[in-house]
Amino acid sequence: MAAEAAGLVAIGAGLAFGLSAIAAGIAEKQIGAAAIGAMAEKEELFGKGLILTVIPETIVIFGLVVAILLMGLAG
């Protein structure tokens, strides 16, 4: 039973991280495309474009933190 529980926790951690990574990817895809478009018009927007593009990165970080916490709590 204990092994099964640990396995389920691991799956949960994997899902937390993987799904949030996919979500961040989807979000960044559209921002990145728009940022490249804006940069083609005005090159100085590189900095702002880069920053806007990495904003959804937070989603992955939260996923990663949740995964680490899950693993830690399951111990």
């Binding site: 920053i51 939260f62 830690g72």
Partner: protein
């Protein structure tokens, strides 16, 4: 340090007589950020100085020469006499255009001769003298190429036996010359059509006589001469270009500067007798400016300090020591600060490398980054600022590497491997038994000294065991966000104390409320839960007054902002994780096999760590800068300043 350079808004009024001198002096000083005058009904803009037209004309000529000669180089600062420039440039231009015309002429000749040569070669391949192709009274000839030569004679002899046919190969095609009596021409044309006959022109050579080969030889000699002549001319041009290269580049720079001066009055206001210049000078350059202008006009001018309007845009010049300057790059990348707010560059200088180092935190990686950025700094002088900042980051990375005791992802080194090195260098490493999930494994290693273990360091909060590094990230987040709020508070103080408390102070009340709520809910303090709730509601009301709807919407934002700092730990854990995978799972097994496998192991080790360093630079860089731009600046920074571009500023 905390504010950009203070500026004085000045207005210079002087008689037009001294306009040129004033411009000259302002340009040399290079401190006045000129505010362009917009034409109004009362006050027109000035007219360019008289020399402007001449300069514009010259500059067009010089630039055309530079582009014709394809010149590049760095200009030296030099003074020239306009008349002298004019004579020299005209001379150069004439020479250039003459040579160019000659080359054109030769090219026309060459292409004509080539055409003749082609036609001659065609005739030569048919072994008939050129005069054979003169028009006849009762004969017609066909000269051209056909698809194939098979059976053509048979077809012709069906019409007549009385013909002359020459067939040969020319340029890989079958060509024929067919002479026939006029009366057969219709039938012959039908036959030729079946052979896809297409006529070839020899119109250029019909006035020649004799065998074609004689003319070919002569023509080839002619062509050779033309080519040589052309080459010679090109060589001449190159010599001229080389000789006058620096002169042209210097002149172009000089003229561009003079043109800027000559056209400056277009940016000034002007009446028939006087001109007005309005602009900003840094406060510490004001006396210098005043003195220079008084000298230039023999005190026949008026210099006033104007009051800067409450919402007027003032040009921004950073005011930092050499240490902080590299970080201006990040401000310019985002948006330069406004005149009335705090310039946070110094905070970037303090926390950006700190966050970067905390995330990467590895002695080995730090050293590699340091060398890499030091090389890049010298290779690309344009990116000097950025690379200087990154060198700081690398140094902090090495420091955190020692804090975490990590070297290329290794936390310890096994006794067998490390014995020789440790003893030879007298390294103060102590031997420890390796533990796995709290159980001794019987394996002994040299542990690297450290203040905390990033990967396994844990902290128990309320009975939950949590990774210590994440908690450190969160705590840094609380600190950083609150510094941001504090800066915002000071910015708002410029407007009013009331606004500062309502818009920024309320966030602290909100945080206090949240802490009270959580602590009382967990029974750590004996306080009814609703007290925390009331404090939060109070803060929300204040925010509603201070920042409006936007403030209310952002209430949960402050907590996600703080949570966002967990990345300080998480990104680092991911980086160590990858390094350990490279060391233990990818390269490790090869090292253990020994022999030739060690070589493969080393290759994998290098490749793996190269990738991890690349990720480890990009990741922490973006995350660190983003924490500043989004979480930190979001609390106080408005930006949108106008860059200070003084008149006559030397190009960098």
């Amino acid at each position: 340090m905390l504010k950009t350079k203070r500026m004085s808004k000045i207005q210079v009024i002087g008689p037009k007589k001294y306009l040129a001198e004033v411009i000259e002096n302002l340009h040399d000083l290079g401190v006045l950020h000129v505010l362009d005058h917009k034409k109004t009904d009362d006050l027109d803009i000035g007219e360019p100085l008289d020399v402007s037209e001449k300069i514009s004309g010259l500059i067009v000529n010089v630039r055309s020469l530079i582009s014709q000669f394809n010149l590049q180089g760095t200009p030296k600062l030099k003074s020239f006499n306009l008349d002298e420039i004019e004579t020299q440039i005209t001379e150069l231009n004439n020479k250039q255009s003459q040579t160019h015309d000659k080359i054109k002429e030769i090219e026309t000749k060459t292409s004509k001769n080539n055409e003749i040569l082609n036609q001659l070669e065609l005739l030569n391949s048919l072994y008939l003298n050129i005069e054979t192709y003169k028009p006849y009274n009762n004969l017609t000839y066909y000269l051209g190429q056909i698809k194939e030569r098979n059976d053509i004679k048979k077809h012709l002899s069906r019409i007549t036996q009385d013909y002359k046919l020459q067939v040969s190969e020319y340029n890989g095609k079958t060509v024929i010359a067919l002479f026939i009596q006029n009366k057969h021409s219709e039938k012959i044309e039908k036959v030729l059509k079946e052979y896809n006959f297409s006529e070839l022109q020899i119109d250029k050579v019909l006035d020649l006589e004799g065998p074609a080969i004689h003319h070919i030889n002569k023509l080839n000699i002619d062509l050779e001469k033309l080519y040589k002549e052309k080459e010679h001319l090109h060589h001449d041009l190159e010599k001229v270009a080389k000789k006058h290269k620096q002169f042209l580049i210097d002149v172009e720079h000089y003229l561009a500067t003079e043109a800027e001066k000559a056209e400056a009055p277009l940016r000034f206001a002007s009446t028939e007798q006087v001109f007005f210049v309005t602009g900003f000078v840094p406060k510490d350059s004001f006396d210098k400016t005043k003195h220079a202008l008084e000298q230039a006009t023999k005190k026949k001018m008026d210099l006033q300090i104007k009051e800067i309007g409450h919402h007027e845009k003032v040009p921004i010049e950073f005011n930092h020591t050499k240490l902080v300057q590299p970080f201006q790059f990040f401000m310019e990348l985002f948006s330069i600060p406004g005149y009335r707010e705090i310039d946070p560059t110094i905070f970037l200088m303090l926390t950006f490398p700190f966050f970067f180092g905390l995330m990467l935190g590895d002695v080995g990686y730090g050293i590699v980054c340091f060398i890499l950025f030091a090389i890049l700094r010298f290779k690309f002088p344009k990116g000097k600022q950025l690379f200087n900042a990154m060198i700081w980051c690398a140094i902090i990375t090495i420091m955190f590497g020692f804090v975490f005791g990590e070297f290329f992802g290794y936390e310890h080194i096994s006794v067998e491997t490390g014995n020789g090195v440790v003893e030879a260098l007298h390294l103060p490493l102590h031997v420890e038994e390796l533990m796995y999930h709290g159980e001794p494994t019987g394996e002994y290693v040299y542990q690297f000294p450290r203040l905390m273990n990033r990967l396994h360091g844990e902290i128990t909060i309320l009975g939950n065991t949590l990774p210590l590094i994440l908690i450190i990230g969160g705590l840094l987040g609380i600190l950083h966000v609150n510094i941001g709020l504090f800066l915002g508070f000071i910015n708002e103080l410029n407007h009013s104390l009331k606004l500062a408390i309502l818009a920024k102070g309320a966030w602290w009340i909100l945080q206090t409320g949240a802490v009270l709520l959580v602590l009382s809910a967990l029974n750590i303090i004996t306080l009814p839960i609703w007290i925390g709730g009331i404090v939060i509601v109070l803060a929300a009301i204040m925010l509603g007054f201070g920042e409006g709807i936007q403030g209310l919407v952002e209430i949960p934002g402050i907590f996600t902002n703080i949570l966002s700092y967990f990345r300080l730990g998480a990104v680092g854990l991911a980086s160590v994780g990858l390094a350990i995978v490279v060391n233990e799972n990818l390269a490790g097994p090869f090292f253990e096999k020994g022999g030739w496998f060690i070589l493969i192991g080393i290759l994998i080790f290098i490749a793996g760590h190269t990738i991890n360093i690349a990720l480890g630079v990009i990741g922490p860089f973006l995350h660190s800068i983003r924490l500043h731009y989004v979480e930190f600046f979001g609390k106080f920074y408005k930006g949108g300043g106008m860059k200070y571009i003084p008149f006559g500023q030397k190009e960098q």
